[in-house]
């Protein structure tokens, strides 16, 4: 703490008079909609500025904005995690980065920038994965804000914070504020783990990624996208074997572009471009500074209100669509009793008696409210199918061809696990 507070050899800056003139107007007295528990004046200021510890996950489009807003709002002990390095395509919105920073870790550059610009704020960066950290690490924070573009990482942190809740210890409940954007649209939400609807509860609200059937790609391409998918999904492994496609490597993109263009030409399909090739293989989501600013501000505003009780916080979902005018919708997303993370009840699944285990697994991958990439299946007494380790996979592989009804009685439970997700899903199987 002491070392970090000293920048460039100069001592830590104390707050100058009137520094918080603006924020203090809110903290010195309640408004008409402020909860009576609000402790106006020095007590709330002391908590915000000297005691509150907040974690920001992601130092990208939302993260840069979140860090700046938190620092100006008076949070002084901020931690940030990001596993990425800076790319030139980040510079149209990630405003803490400059061309000279390309290639450097986002978390570290962002933290340094904030500390230089906003005196007296400590930002502690971690350049790595959220999965590297354990429960003790997450337990130290009062609040967590997420500005991520990965569904998988969000599911992980959501489940981790839900699991952290110990009913005996109120401190273990860490409010999670999550933001996301796409073009002129975005959303911000407040999750009180185990109390309100969690990220997993709303998984079915996500847009399903466009998936092209393999037979279209292989046999009847019509769109430039089909040719690009052919190049990346079928041709790359055929030509390069086990060599992994790196979508950040411009040479790899060039190869895909050339290969897709040649196929498009053969089939007289127009429209394969470099930009489209990159967009399809990297699943690029358009992103602009202004939308990130709105959503990040909304997240930080909720964090500020939760940390200070100066006004009621969002219950629990804010959705913005800025394509046609400014349209927004604030609503309460309902908690799901059969949510595998926070619900506690088994999820009822109705399947045919003829279904094989393999068919059931396919459904678990596909189904919008489940989306488990590599599920392993078991009951309290049986191993049905395990993705890993290899010996166990081999041992259970013959079950894939068997009918589920040969292994499981009607009304019995199946436990589904996946190495990427820190929770179990319990299915109650019904035959129709």
């Amino acid at each position: 703490m002491a070392a970090a507070a000293v920048l460039d050899g100069t001592p830590a800056v104390v707050d100058w008079p009137d520094r918080y003139h603006h924020v203090d107007q809110i903290l010195d007295k309640p408004g008409p909609r402020t909860d009576p528990s609000f402790l106006a004046g020095n007590e709330v200021k002391d908590f915000l500025r000297n005691k509150c510890k907040i974690l920001v996950i992601g130092a990208g489009g939302l993260g840069c904005e979140i860090l700046a807003n938190l620092a100006l709002s008076g949070f002084k002990d901020i931690h940030v995690i990001d596993m990425d390095t800076i790319d030139i395509s980040n510079l149209n919105r990630q405003f803490l980065f400059r061309p000279k920073d390309v290639g450097k870790p986002k978390a570290i550059v962002a933290a340094e920038f904030i500390m230089k610009r906003v005196p007296g704020v400590i930002v502690s960066p971690y350049y790595g994965k959220i999965q590297d950290k354990d429960d003790d690490y997450y337990m130290q924070f009062n609040l967590v804000i997420c500005g991520l573009d990965s569904v998988e990482a969000r599911r992980w942190i959501n489940a981790t914070l839900v699991n952290l809740v110990d009913p005996e210890n109120p401190e273990s409940l860490k409010p999670l504020i999550d933001g996301g954007t796409e073009g002129f649209k975005g959303q911000a939400r407040v999750i009180l783990p185990t109390v309100s609807s969690c990220y997993e509860c709303s998984l079915d609200m996500l847009n399903k990624p466009t998936a092209f059937p393999i037979c279209t790609i292989a046999n009847t391409p019509r769109l430039p996208e089909h040719c690009i998918e052919w190049a990346s999904v079928l041709e790359w492994p055929r030509v390069f074997g086990d060599k992994k496609l790196d979508t950040d490597d411009p040479e790899h993109i060039s190869w895909l572009y050339t290969t897709a263009s040649a196929r498009a030409k053969e089939f007289k399909i127009e429209g394969v471009t470099w930009s489209l090739t990159q967009g399809v293989v990297k699943n690029i989501i358009p992103a602009i500074a202004s939308t990130n600013a709105i959503i990040a501000a909304s997240c930080c505003n909720e964090a500020f209100k939760i940390a200070t009780s100066s006004a009621a916080y969002l219950n629990n979902y804010f959705m913005l669509i800025g394509v046609d005018g400014v349209y927004s919708y604030t609503f309460e997303h309902e908690k799901r009793d059969d949510c595998p993370v926070c619900g506690g009840e088994a999820l009822d699944i109705s399947i045919s008696k003829e279904w094989t285990v393999d068919r059931l697994i396919e459904m678990l991958i596909e189904k919008q409210d489940i989306q488990i990439k590599k599920p392993s299946l078991s009951t309290t007494t049986k191993q049905i199918y395990f993705q890993a380790p290899p010996q166990l996979e081999e041992l259970t592989r013959p079950n894939l061809e068997k009918k589920v009804s040969e292994l499981i009685e009607d009304g019995d439970h199946i436990t589904v696990t996946a190495s990427t997700l820190p929770f179990n899903l319990t299915l109650r199987i019904k035959y129709v």
Binding site: S254, W274, G325
Partner: protein, 539 residues
């Protein structure tokens, strides 16, 4: 290329021109507004009044995507409070120095291709003489945050004088509350990106090559694979053609007829898994729900330009090219040489079919779109001979492709709505919290004009002001107290999060105004960050 000829990485990459640094930098936004939108941004010159946290937040979001030029106009010096809430000042080191001059370099370093300068002056000084007024009018967009009402009245009046004057975005905020309004004469949008109405595929008005294809189908003796690959468009054209022959030229109109039409689609299916026939049935609505000209577009044909109903289009008419294109569109629909409908966009959705059929269909659509665009161009030259040579071919192309959903918005003068007591009273009933918040912010502006330090502001004074505006007899909804209470709590507070939120919203609207893509907000956009909502009043 056969699969054996797949190139290795080296020979593939040497042949490919990779995108330049500028394209890579702007990649994530070019996917939204493309090169045309980017060019518009880079040609824009904007004037921003006051280097407040909110103004600087707006500017940040415009400098990053690459606005051409900005001027930050502010007579103030940096206070200790500014140094605490404004990210684009150098903290305590900036205190006592001119606020605009301190902010400009920190904004410019976000994007070295953007020009920006600081002008340390009061807007009243510019408004006071002809040179100053001409200077303001020379920008492409003006944005003002928390400008005192006395200055704002003069500025908004100035920019309402001539239909060629730039749009003005008026932004106000205090504590958790804010609103903003775009004063503009006319906004013509050729690419709204709203995608609510897909362009017509002309199924009920097939062009010759399409009709020919549909008629030549030998449905009974076709190879089964080919049968499962007939594009749904061709299936529908064929069934419509047969239907018309049996119904004296009429299309299915009643719900019984529509069901019968769908049954006719199903009857042609040979196997249950022919997905092209599923698509044909699912898309059958196009047969009865696709007007030749959507009513929104037809309404534009009779919309007189702002310069006057009978005035000829000239260089000085705002949006000259757009209005010329609208006239050409009306002529196109009337023309005996045309299809009696909007020009074909040429776009084709993906559908269940094989490559050969899809490419064939795409080719006939593109060819036909080219023919109709040529006719459109000829009609433009006939209708507007003076303007036609000046219309950018790319603009014409975009207009034709989007002819089914182009939009024209007509704006109002800043503040005009609140003076319309009947409208305000009905709005208070329809959208009480949005209206109450807007009126409370109006009242706050009035009181701050009398005492900029907030000393005249109290809940009682604000209520009195609001009551004065709506009329003594009008009952105020309970939401008024919520809004007024928040403003009385923090009358001069510019919260960092509110500034960032409003800065994002206003920048989005500025981008829409400048690029003429997407649809800007029409009315007063009201923001409440206590209950986290945005709303609209005064449309």
């Amino acid at each position: 290329m056969s699969t054996d000829e797949s190139q290795d990485i080296d020979s593939a990459t040497t042949a490919v021109q990779q995108p330049d640094n500028k394209t890579r930098r702007y990649d994530r936004q070019l996917r939204l507004w493309a090169a045309s939108g980017q060019n518009a941004l880079e040609s824009a010159r904007i004037l921003v009044l006051s280097a407040s946290a909110t103004s600087n937040a707006v500017l940040k979001n415009l400098v990053l995507p690459g606005i051409g030029h900005f001027t930050l106009l502010d007579p103030a010096t940096v206070s200790a409070a500014d140094a605490g809430n404004n990210f684009f000042l150098a903290g305590p080191a900036s205190v006592g120095k001119p606020r605009a001059a301190e902010a400009v370099p920190l904004l410019r370093e976000l994007n070295e291709s953007v020009q920006g300068d600081a002008v340390i002056k009061h807007v009243d000084d510019l408004l006071a003489d002809d040179d100053g007024r001409a200077y303001i009018r020379g920008f492409s967009l003006v944005i003002a945050h928390n400008l005192p009402t006395s200055s704002l009245d003069s500025l908004s009046r100035l920019l309402w004088e001539d239909i060629g004057d730039p749009p003005l975005i008026v932004v106000r905020s205090a504590g958790f509350l804010a609103d903003f309004f775009i004063q503009f004469h006319e906004q013509c949008i050729s690419q709204p990106h709203t995608d609510e109405t897909p362009p017509s595929l002309r199924i009920t008005r097939p062009f010759p090559a399409l009709l020919e294809w549909a008629r030549e189908l030998d449905l009974d003796n076709m190879d089964p694979t080919d049968h499962g690959h007939i594009p749904f468009v061709v299936i529908l054209v064929r069934i419509v053609d047969d239907w018309r022959r049996e119904h004296g030229g009429a299309l299915p109109a009643t719900s019984t007829e529509k069901q019968a039409f769908k049954a006719a689609v199903r009857a042609l299916r040979r196997k249950p898994d022919e997905e092209n026939f599923d698509e044909a049935e699912a898309q059958a609505w196009r047969v009865w729900a696709e007007p030749a000209v959507p009513s929104d577009i037809a309404a534009l044909f009779t919309l007189p330009p702002l310069s006057g109903a009978d005035a000829p289009l000239s260089e000085t008419t705002p949006n000259t090219a757009f209005h010329a294109l609208l006239r050409a569109l009306a002529a196109f629909v009337r023309s005996e040489r045309g299809p009696g409908a909007l020009p074909l966009s040429g776009a084709l959705p993906d559908m269940r079919t094989d490559t050969t059929s899809y490419v064939r269909l795409q080719t006939i659509y593109k060819d036909r779109a080219r023919v109709e665009k040529a006719l459109f161009g000829a009609l433009l030259a006939e209708e507007c001979p003076d303007v036609a040579p000046h219309v950018d071919p790319e603009e014409l192309d975009t207009f034709v492709k989007n002819a089914h959903h182009v939009r024209v918005l007509r704006g109002r003068r800043w503040g005009a709505w609140a003076a319309d007591r009947a409208a305000v009273a009905s709005s208070l009933e329809m959208v009480p919290r949005e209206t109450a918040t807007h009126l409370a912010l109006n009242a706050l502006s009035t009181l701050l004009n009398e005492g900029p330090d907030g000393s005249k502001v109290s809940a009682e004074a604000l209520t009195e002001e609001v009551q004065k505006v709506v009329g003594e007899g009008v009952a105020l909804p309970s939401e008024t107290e919520d809004a007024i209470g928040e403003l009385a709590r923090a009358p001069t507070a510019e919260l960092p999060n509110t500034a960032a939120f409003v800065g994002g919203l206003v920048a989005q609207e500025a981008i829409k105004m400048i690029t003429r893509q997407y649809v800007p907000v029409d009315g007063y956009c009201v923001v409440d960050l206590v209950d986290s909502w945005t709303g609209l009043v005064g449309r």
